[in-house]
C-alpha cells in the first residue's frame, strides 16, 4: 500500500508588499507556471491540483473554484485545504497523500496570499471565539507578543537575544532573490524599531507579503523521469491540538512542534537531529518564537536555544543552518509561507537553492505554524526513504 513521493519542481513569485500589477489569479498563475517550468512539465501532465490560502484575507469564497484559470486545474480534480497559518504545509501534506495513495502520479500544490488586498489583523481576529476571545485578541502580533512575554519570564531570554533571529534571517534573505525583505539589519535596528505589542517590535515580526508558491509532487516512477535529483518526502506529521488561544500547555517545549518533530524522527529513525539534519526551514512568525522553538526541534535541551544561536550553530555555515532562505521574517504571504518552507527544503536537497545553497545538504526539515499554536512538520531528503 502506498507509493513513494518526491518533489520534482518548485516555483515562487518574487514576493513583494504589494503586487498591483497582477490580480490574485494571475499571481497564482505565475507560481504555477514557474513550478511547471522547473519540472519540465506542461499543464496536461498534472493529474490533480490542491490549493490553499486564508479566505478572509482576499474576501473570496471557494478560492479553488475561483482560481481555476491560474491554478492549472481546469477539467481536473481540484481541492482546497486550509488550516490558517499552517495552510502552506497542510497543502504540501495533501500533495504528499494524493501521490502516496496511488490514485494520482503528478500533483500540483499551490499556496498563495495577496495580503495587500486585505486587512490581515482584522481577518485573523475572526479566528478567535467571538464571545470570549475577539474583544481582547489583537491578531497574530498580539498573540505572539503574549507568548514572547511569557518566554522572557520563563527562560530569562531578552529582547536582544530574540533579535539575533531576525538579524540572522534578514541577512540570509540577501542571498534569496525571491525574498520580500532584502535589507540587512542589526540588533540595534531591531531594538529601536517601533513597538507594536510589547515586547514585539516591527523588526521582530514577519511582514505582510503578496506572493505565491507552487510545488510539483510526483510518484516514484514519474519522479525518475522528470527530475535529475528529486527531493523525496520521507515523513509528514501534524498536530493541531487546540481550540481556544489559551489551551496550550504552559510548560515544556512548544508542544505541537515537539510532538510532530518526534513523530517524524521516530518514523524516520533519526536519533540525533542536530547532526543528522543538514538544514531546517522553520516557520518562525516572530523572533522570540524562532529562538525558543529551536528546542522543540529536539536539537538542544529545553531553554538552551540562545546558546546554540549565539554560537553560530544555526548560521549558514553552522552545524545546522536554519532558514537559509531568509525565513518567515523576510517573507510572509501566509497561505504560501508554509509551502515555501517545503519548496526551499526541496531546493536544498536537490541542489537548486542557488546562492543560499547549503553545501552537501541531503536531509532537510520543513515546519509550519499557525492557528492557536498548531504545527506541521515534513522531512525531505535527497535519497529515497525506506
Amino acid at each position: 500500500m502506498g507509493q513513494r513521493v518526491a518533489i520534482v519542481g518548485t516555483g515562487q513569485t518574487h514576493h513583494r508588499s504589494s503586487r498591483k500589477d497582477v490580480n490574485g489569479v494571475e499571481l497564482i498563475q505565475e507560481a504555477t507556471s514557474r513550478a511547471l517550468e522547473d519540472a519540465g512539465l506542461r499543464r496536461e501532465d498534472i493529474d490533480a491540483v490542491i490549493i490553499g490560502n486564508m479566505d478572509h484575507f482576499e474576501g473570496i469564497n471557494y478560492v479553488d473554484m475561483w482560481s481555476i484559470d491560474g491554478n492549472g486545474g481546469l477539467h481536473k480534480p481540484v481541492m482546497k485545504v486550509t488550516t490558517g497559518g499552517t495552510t502552506g504545509t497542510t497543502v504540501a501534506i495533501a500533495g504528499y497523500y494524493h501521490i502516496a495513495s496511488g490514485l494520482f502520479d503528478t500533483v500540483l500544490a499551490i499556496g498563495w496570499e495577496k495580503n495587500s488586498e486585505s486587512d490581515t489583523t482584522a481577518a485573523i481576529i475572526t479566528c478567535a471565539d467571538p464571545y470570549w476571545e475577539r474583544p481582547t485578541f489583537g491578531g497574530a502580533v498580539a498573540g505572539l507578543a503574549g507568548t514572547a512575554c511569557e518566554y522572557m519570564h520563563r527562560y530569562g531570554i531578552t529582547e536582544r537575544d530574540a533579535a539575533l533571529i531576525a538579524v540572522r534571517d534578514r541577512k540570509n534573505a540577501l542571498k534569496n532573490p525571491y525574498a520580500h525583505l532584502r535589507k540587512e539589519i542589526t540588533v540595534e535596528d531591531v531594538l529601536k524599531s517601533p513597538m507594536l505589542a510589547y515586547p514585539i517590535k516591527l523588526l521582530d515580526i514577519c511582514p505582510r507579503t503578496d506572493g505565491a508558491c507552487a510545488v510539483v509532487f510526483a510518484s516514484e516512477d514519474k519522479a525518475k523521469k522528470i527530475a535529475d535529483k528529486p527531493a523525496w518526502v520521507h515523513q509528514v506529521s501534524s498536530r493541531h491540538n487546540y481550540t481556544f488561544l489559551t489551551d496550550i500547555e504552559r510548560s515544556g517545549r512548544m508542544p505541537t512542534l515537539y510532538e510532530a518533530c518526534m513523530e517524524v524522527y521516530k518514523n524516520a529513525g533519526i536519533r540525533d537531529p542536530l547532526h543528522e539534519l543538514d538544514v531546517v526551514e522553520m516557520y518562525t512568525p516572530s523572533s522570540f518564537a524562532g529562538l525558543v522553538w529551536i528546542d522543540a526541534l529536539g536539537v538542544c535541551d529545553e531553554g538552551e536555544a540562545v546558546r546554540l544561536v549565539s554560537n553560530g550553530v544555526t548560521e549558514m555555515d553552522g552545524e545546522l543552518p536554519i532558514n537559509p532562505s531568509g525565513g518567515v521574517i523576510s517573507t510572509n504571504c501566509i497561505g504560501a509561507t508554509g509551502l515555501i518552507r517545503v519548496a526551499e527544503a526541496a531546493m536544498q536537497v536537490s541542489g537548486k537553492a542557488g546562492e543560499h545553497q547549503i553545501e552537501g545538504a541531503k536531509l532537510a526539515l520543513a515546519t509550519g505554524f499557525g492557528g492557536c499554536s498548531w504545527s506541521d512538520v515534513l522531512l525531505i531528503g535527497s535519497s529515497k526513504p525506506n
Binding site: M1, G2, N23, M54, D55, H56, G59, I60, N61, Y62, D64, M65, W66, S67, I68, D69, G73, L74, H75, K76, P77, V78, M79, K80, V81, T82, T83, G84, T90, I93, A94, Y96, Y97, H98, A100, S101, G102, L103, A123, I124, T126, C127, D129, P130, S237, S238, R239, H240, N241, Y242, T243, E259, G370, G371, C372
Partner: protein, 379 residues
C-alpha cells in the same frame, strides 16, 4: 485500489436553526454517533479530516472551533474546504497511502448563523460579478433557465423532483422538510429568482455529519456491514459562468466516468441500485441525472416523469429526501455518502430500497456545480 470501507456514520437532525448549539456541539454529536455506530473509541481513529468553510462559519480558520470536538488532539489532522464528498476523498487517500488504518471525516455548517446571500455572493468575481448581486439562487436560476431552454425541460418536470423528494423525506428522521406536495403547489410557490421558486429550492439548514473510513484489515475486524468504496472521481469546470455552457455538466460527466471506470460500471442506470445526488434545486436532480449517465442528454425531464427514480422504481434517486429536504452546505455531500451506507446496510427502514447492493453518492462544489465528486459504494 486497495479495499477501504465506511465502517461508521453519524448525522445530527438537520434543522432550520439549532440556536442552542455551537458548531462544536454539532460536530461532537456527529462524531460520537459515528463512533458508537462503528462500536469503536476515539483512540481507534488514526487521523481526522474536518470539512468547514470560513465564510459559512464567520470565522477565519473555521476548523479551529471544532478541534476539541472532532477528537483530533494528539492526532494528524487536516481540513478540506469544499463539499463533504471532497473531504471524504482526502480521508480515503490518507488511508490508501498506508500511513493510517482509519480516518474520521466530519463536516459541519450552520446556515442559520450567516447571510446565505452575502456568503454565496462572495463566490463570485469581486471585480466583475458581485455587483450584479449574484448568489447561489440567482446563479442557479441562470443555469436552470439555460438547461430548460436548450433541452425543452419544463418547470413542471423540475417540480416533480421537489414533490418526490419532500415526500421521501417523510421516512428520514434526520431530514428537515418532509411534506406531501403536488406539482401545483410548487408552481404556485413564491418566486425567488425565475424560474426557481421557493419549493424548487433547498432550505437553509444547520447540521453535521461524520463518517469513519477504514482499511480492509480494520473493517473486517470491526464490522459485519462495511460499505466498500468501489470507485471515486472528481473534476472541476471553468469558473466564469460565461466560460461554461451551464446546461452541459461536463465536470460531472468526467468525475462519474472516473468513478465508473474504477468500479467497473458500464451501464450506470442498470447496475446502480440507489443514488443520492446533490439536488440543491429541483432542476439539478434532472441535470445531474443526465451527467451521471442515468439517461440521455436532455432527457432528464422524461426520466423523472417516467417514475423510474421513485423509491419503488428501477433506480431510486434521493430516497432520503435529498438536499432539497435538508441543505447544510458542505455537510450535504457527506450526508449523501452516509445515506447510501445506510441503504447498503439495509438499515433504511421506511426509506430502504430493497436489495440495494451498489449505491452512488454525489456532491458538488462551487457555483452551478462547477466541481463534482462521485462515489460508488458496495455492500
Amino acid at each position: 485500489m486497495e479495499r477501504v470501507a465506511i465502517i461508521g456514520i453519524g448525522q445530527t437532525k438537520y434543522e432550520r436553526e439549532k440556536r442552542g448549539e455551537t458548531s462544536a456541539d454539532l460536530v461532537f454529536e456527529a462524531v460520537t454517533k459515528a463512533l458508537n455506530d462503528a462500536k469503536i473509541g476515539i483512540e481507534d481513529i488514526d487521523n481526522v479530516v474536518t470539512v468547514s468553510n470560513d465564510f459559512w462559519d464567520g470565522r477565519t480558520i473555521s476548523s479551529m472551533a471544532v478541534t476539541d470536538a472532532c477528537g483530533s488532539y494528539g492526532k494528524n489532522v487536516s481540513t478540506v474546504e469544499g463539499d463533504g464528498t471532497f473531504g471524504a476523498f482526502y480521508g480515503l487517500m490518507r488511508i490508501l497511502s498506508g500511513s493510517f488504518r482509519s480516518t474520521l471525516v466530519v463536516s459541519h455548517c450552520k446556515g442559520s448563523e450567516g447571510s446565505n446571500h452575502l456568503i454565496t455572493n462572495a463566490i463570485f468575481n469581486p471585480i466583475y460579478e458581485r455587483a450584479i448581486g449574484l448568489d447561489s439562487i440567482s446563479s442557479s436560476a441562470l443555469q436552470a433557465r439555460r438547461y430548460m431552454e436548450k433541452y425543452g425541460v419544463t418547470e413542471e418536470q423540475c417540480a416533480l423532483a421537489s414533490v418526490k423528494n419532500h415526500k421521501n423525506a417523510k421516512d428520514n428522521p434526520f431530514s428537515q422538510i418532509a411534506m406531501d406536495i403536488c406539482v401545483e403547489d410548487v408552481m404556485n410557490s413564491k418566486a425567488l429568482s425565475d424560474p426557481i421558486k421557493l419549493l424548487d429550492s433547498s432550505p437553509i439548514s444547520d447540521g453535521a455529519c461524520a463518517i469513519i473510513l477504514a482499511d480492509e484489515w480494520m473493517a473486517k475486524r470491526v464490522t459485519t456491514r462495511p460499505a466498500w468504496v468501489k470507485g471515486v472521481g472528481h473534476s472541476a469546470d471553468a469558473y466564469n459562468l460565461g466560460d461554461r455552457d451551464l446546461a452541459e455538466p461536463d465536470a460531472l460527466i468526467r468525475a462519474a466516468q472516473k468513478a465508473y471506470d474504477m468500479a467497473g460500471i458500464q451501464e450506470p442506470f442498470r447496475e446502480i441500485d440507489v443514488a443520492e445526488i446533490y439536488d440543491a434545486f429541483s432542476y439539478q436532480e434532472l441535470l445531474w441525472s443526465e451527467g451521471l449517465g442515468f439517461c440521455e442528454r436532455g432527457k432528464g425531464g422524461r426520466l423523472i416523469e417516467s417514475g423510474k427514480t421513485t423509491k419503488e422504481g428501477m433506480l431510486p434517486i434521493n430516497p432520503s429526501g435529498g438536499v432539497l429536504s435538508a441543505h447544510p452546505v458542505l455537510v450535504a455531500g457527506l450526508a449523501r455518502i452516509a445515506e447510501i451506507t445506510i441503504q447498503l446496510r439495509g438499515e433504511g427502514n421506511g426509506r430502504q430500497v430493497d436489495g440495494a447492493k451498489i449505491g452512488l453518492a454525489h456532491g458538488i462544489n462551487g457555483a452551478c456545480g462547477q466541481a463534482h465528486c462521485v462515489w460508488i459504494l458496495e455492500s
